[in-house]
Structures are given as structure tokens and as C-alpha cells.
Amino acid sequence: MDLDFTPAELAFRDEVRAFFAKTVPAEWLTRVRAGLRLEPAELIAYQKALAAKGWGAPTWPVEYGGPGWTPAQNYIFESESARAGAPIQFHQGLELIGPIIFTYGSQELKDRYLPGIINADDWWCQGYSEPGAGSDLASLRTTAVRDGDHYVLNGQKMWTSYAQVASHMFVLARTSQEPKRQQGISLLLVDMKTPGIAIRKIETMDEKYTTNEVFLDDVRVPVTNLVGTEGKGWEYGKVLLDRERMVCSATAIHLPQVLDGVRDAARARKIGGVPLIETPAFAAQLAQLEIEAMALETMVLRLLADLASGADSGPRGSMVKLRWSDLYQRATALWMDALGPEAAHFRALEGEGPADMPYGMQGALYSRVTSIYGGSSEIQHNIIARRALGL
């Protein structure tokens, strides 16, 4: 048992560190620290820089363009990324549909779509949730009816993040009605330029435009864009849900960025002339979060070590998701405390002062969705109770 890196891993760390030192612009830092996503154009530029280095798809197998890293290398990559204030890679192509395409897709689909994901030429969005099918995805109602060489899609998708900038969407739709609700669902790849697709912005409480309703009205998709076997989409979907949780390990590794943000805000603010960070009550609250973040980081290390040894991580991914969203919410709430009365100065009504956007405040708003998306905290509890505890 040890926590040490091998000499080769240490050399790799230096290489990664050097790469980030020259790749990450300083102006990303404030937003990244608040746990906020960068603008699509920035994320695309970042992804292209990674791809140019051969690091575009850190978790993919070599044959599909991955670097062939060990879990330890993946950890080093993510922790150096966090250390440098780099963002988390946009994951819907890389971690959600990409792995499904290379696992279940035809050679044609692999050739067509995998390079575009790595090079950020394509931007993918996810068409899963529906107004009546959130946590209970199996009750989805969007239909895909075969008509010659096409499927014709009709229905309505919800919570489709970045549909407004995406070039492609992967969609779960019903290709037949079966008694068991999980059957008869297929996975289709859709070009967002196809006629019949309409988007309605969903206003969210963080005042950022990220998510949408997507209306599908006789949208014709070539049958060659079916992934895997017709009617088996649910199984691929479940794999997706699993990977969506795995992504949280990377997210968890970036948690110290948020704590850095809190710390800086508390250094900047004075109370009675004393920096907030030096007041015992605040220091104890921050310490509690740092301690829990250390526990989370170590849970992730153990998860990655299990991955390396081929052990089943089971619902430990769900545990990481739960702990991370809780800590992120509490950290941004503490950040908001650190802003003091200025937390109320969200937008300047005239002009553009430097204080027109306290990012910690926006992080505090955004954080509320992290215990809802990707399987809510309640669903994660159900999953762990069933899978790990046998209840």
C-alpha cells in the first residue's frame, strides 16, 4: 500500500504541468474556480489544444485516438488540470456518446464521428430526458418510425444542454411499443441541421443559457445513424448513465479549484478590519470543507486504483457524485458568505463595473442543479441501496 508515483509517473506529471502552464489563459481562472463552464468557443479552443497534443480523449483506448493512459495518469492529468486552473473538458461527446459509438457503433459511425469528437469539430448534445421522463427515463415517449432508409422522429426532449450550439444530438426514441417499458428504445445520431428540429431556451436560475427543450417534428434520420441494434438503446443508455457518474471523478478532482476561490474571496474581504479568512468561525468552516474534500479526493484515488486493478467500482461512482455535489454546494454557499453585502451586486444596472458578476454567487446558483442532473441525489441513494447494500 502506498501513495507514491513511479518515476515515469513523475516525469509524466512534469510534462502535463508544462503543457498546462502554456495552454491555460489567466482569464479563465475566475469562472473555472466557481465551477462554471467556459463559453463554447473557449471550450472548443481548449479541446483543440489537447487534441493537437494527442491528449484529446484521455480515457479512450489507443485504437480510437486515446493516449492509452493508466488510471494513475488520468488522475495526474486531471489534478494538474485543476492545479493550473484549466476547465473540465466538455463531456457529452467525449464521455457520453463517444464511448458508446466505439463500443456498439458500426465501423462507418466510428470513422465518421470519433475524430470529430476528439478534434472538437463536432459538438454533441444529449436528447434523453423528456417532460414526463426525468429520473424515470424508461417512460420516454419520443417515437422513431421506420420509413424506408430513414427513421422519422417525433417528440419532445428536455434539459438538452447546449442544443443551441451543438452540431449533433444523440437521441433515445421508441422504435416499438413493448410491454416492458425498457424495451423497444433505440439510440440514434441526429444532425442538428436536419429539418424539423426546433429549440426553445429554458431559463434557469443561474441566468446562464445552457439548456433547452428540443422539439422533434418529422425529423428524418438515416437508418445508418442507428447505434447498435434497434430496440436495444436502453442498454446503451444505462452504460451512458454509468459513465455520466464516472465523469464525476474528474469533476471531484477539480473541487480544490473552488476552495481556492473561496479562500481568495475570504482573504480579500475584511470584517472589522481583519481578513475574514483569519476569523476562527470562517476558518473552521473552510477547514471542514477542505477536510471533506481530502476524503473525497482519496475516495477517487481508490476508485482509480480499483479501475487499474480491474476491480468493480460498483456504486462508488454514485458515492463520489453525491459527495461532490454536496461539497460544491456548500463551498459556493461559503463563497457567497465571503462576498458579504456585495453578494447582492449581481449585475450592474448601468455601465460595466468590475463587480458586475461575482462568480462565486453564480456558482452558488449553478451548484443547485448538480444534485439534480445526471441522476439526482435521491436516485443515487436508491442505486447504492440496491446495488451495494442489497436493500
Binding site: 434557469t204 436560475m205 441566468e207 470584517i271 472589522g272 470562517f282 453585502p341 447582492a344 444596472l349 439526482s376
Partner: protein, 368 residues
Amino acid sequence: MNFEYSDEQRMLADSANRLGADLWPSSDRLKLLERFDDLTARTAAQMAELGWLMLPIAEDDGGLGGSAVDVMAIMEGVGRHLIPTSYVANAVLVPALVSGDPAAADLLAAIGEGSAKAAAGLLEPDGGYDLGWVECAATGSGTEWTLTGEKLHVEDGADADWFVVTAKTDAGISLFLVRADAPGLTVSRFRAIDQHRHARLKLDGVTAVLIGEAGAALPKVELAVDKAICAHLAEAVGSMEAALAATLDYLRTRKQFGVAIGSFQSLQHRAVDMGIALEEARSMSYRATLSLGLPAAERRRVVSAAKARVGQCGLYVGRQAVQLHGGVGFSDELIISHHLKRQMMLDCAYGSVEHHVARFVAPQVLGA
């Protein structure tokens, strides 16, 4: 010992609910916010018409001399319907600050009839929420004073015509009246996440009128802010009540896996904890409001306890209301997220939980 509204207070509560249901129906919040200026103007006009603006002003100041419980009856309705009004700063805080000084008679008359608005600048950079931390300097004498300094945050101050601010004279902390258009005054204006509009002031040799006795302002400021806090507590309770009701409604009607999600025990228990939080908050709102007449040390202790606990309970209820609604709770298209945002800002206004826990521990340390 009695926790019932009087008949008059019940009428006030009813009319607050009516105003809220008329002008700020919860069903289409986003559309309403697009007509923000129009609706807030109509809200203010109706408040004037109903006599609410006159209500908290003391009889000796030409007002109706309403009690803190009267204000509570209105504010619960304001919270229930999330009416974005500057009522507390303008009609509760400022009249309490300037009460009894003839120099403020015109201002109070204008507030009471709704022809002018006022707000109070009491916080400074580096002072946190400490009302006794005043570096803004006042020089002069008699009716001729000049102020120089900074006020970090003026709650609901973006649209004020007048500011009441603290500043230090040789005698100590004093209150001054400043016109919003006074030369040397720079007002920066901000919108918060709950649509309230605040200000930050820079004063560079601004002409001001002394209110009350020089050097003796702090006890009055503390009392006035405690009154404002109690009004906010009632607003928080009204908002919690509405958020809980909407959540219970959602739990009963929203189906997942073929059943109403309210049949899931873990969600039921969460809703129960929200219900208990509401009961606690309501209890503390009553307790603090009914304690405003106690001696200063005891009053501060109770008000700070209530401010801290209602803040915690309000955030809990707001967050869980969003959580139990799932994705639609995070969207701004339901009223739920707006309740959470208001709770977040109510928690900040006039001092965070931390600040008030500290003030609860040592009321003697902070202020007279």
C-alpha cells in the same frame, strides 16, 4: 400570551395577499419580470393608496403609528407572492432612523404619500455587517455638514431619492440625510438575483443634513435595523410557506415510475423537515417581532437569534423545494427557484447567519 392577529391585522394580511395575487401571480413569473418597471410602479402606487407607506411612520411624525405586527401582516403576504418591493428599506427602516427630527419631516411626508423613496447606507468596506464600523467622515456644524467616505451597500437603494447614512463626527456616529442627486455623490446601482435593486455610494464632500443628535446615532440605528430585520423575517416566512405549499402540490401530482413522487418515503420525510423548518421560522419571526420593545441588549439577542435561525430554515426550505422539484425547480419558469433566490438574499440582507450568531453571543460587544 397570544399569537393571533387582530381583525385589523387580518385585513392587512388579506389585502397584502390580494395585491400579490393581482399584480404578482406566481404562475408566470418570467413574463412579469419583463414588465418589472411597470409592475413595481403599480405596486408602489397601490401600497401608497392602501396606506401601507404611512403605516410604520410614527404618529408624532405624521404617520399612522402602526405596530411591528401590522408590518408583519403585510410582509408575510409580500413574501408569499414574492413582491419585489423596497417597502422595508423605504417605509420601515428609514422612518425608524429619522423619526422625531423635524429636519426629516418633508422626507417622511413624501415617503408616506409615495412621492419619494429613501434608503439607508449603513455598511462600509472592511466593516462586514457591523453597524458600528463607520469610517465615513462628517465635518461641519449646525445644519451645514459635508460627508466623505464610502457606503458599500445600500439595501434597496437603487431607486432612492434620498439616502440616510451614518458618518462620524467628532462626537461619534451620527445620522445624515443626503439627496441622491447631491454634488459629490456617486451612486452605483446593481440588480441582485432576486430582482431587488441596490446601491453603492461614494461620497466626496457631499452636503448633508444632520438627523438627531451628533454622536448618539448607534442605538437608534441598531433599533431601526432590528425593525427592518423583523419585517424581513415575516417576508421569509411567507416565502417559505408558499415554497412548501407548491412543493407539496408537486409531490402529490408529479408522477415517476407510475406513482406520485409524494409516495416515496424519503421525499415525504424531507417535506416534513421543511414543514418543521417553517414552524421554527414562523415561531422565531413572532418571537423577534414581539421582542422589539424589550431593552436593547435582550432585543438584540432575540432578533439576532431569529435572524440566524430564519436564515438557516429559509435556505433549507428554498433549497429543498428546488431539489424536490428536480430540473423544473432549477428552471426559472416555475416560481420555486425565485423563492430560493429571495431566501438567499434575505439571508445576506442586514447580516448573515455568521454575523448574527456572533451578535447573539456578545450583544454587549457590538454597539451600545
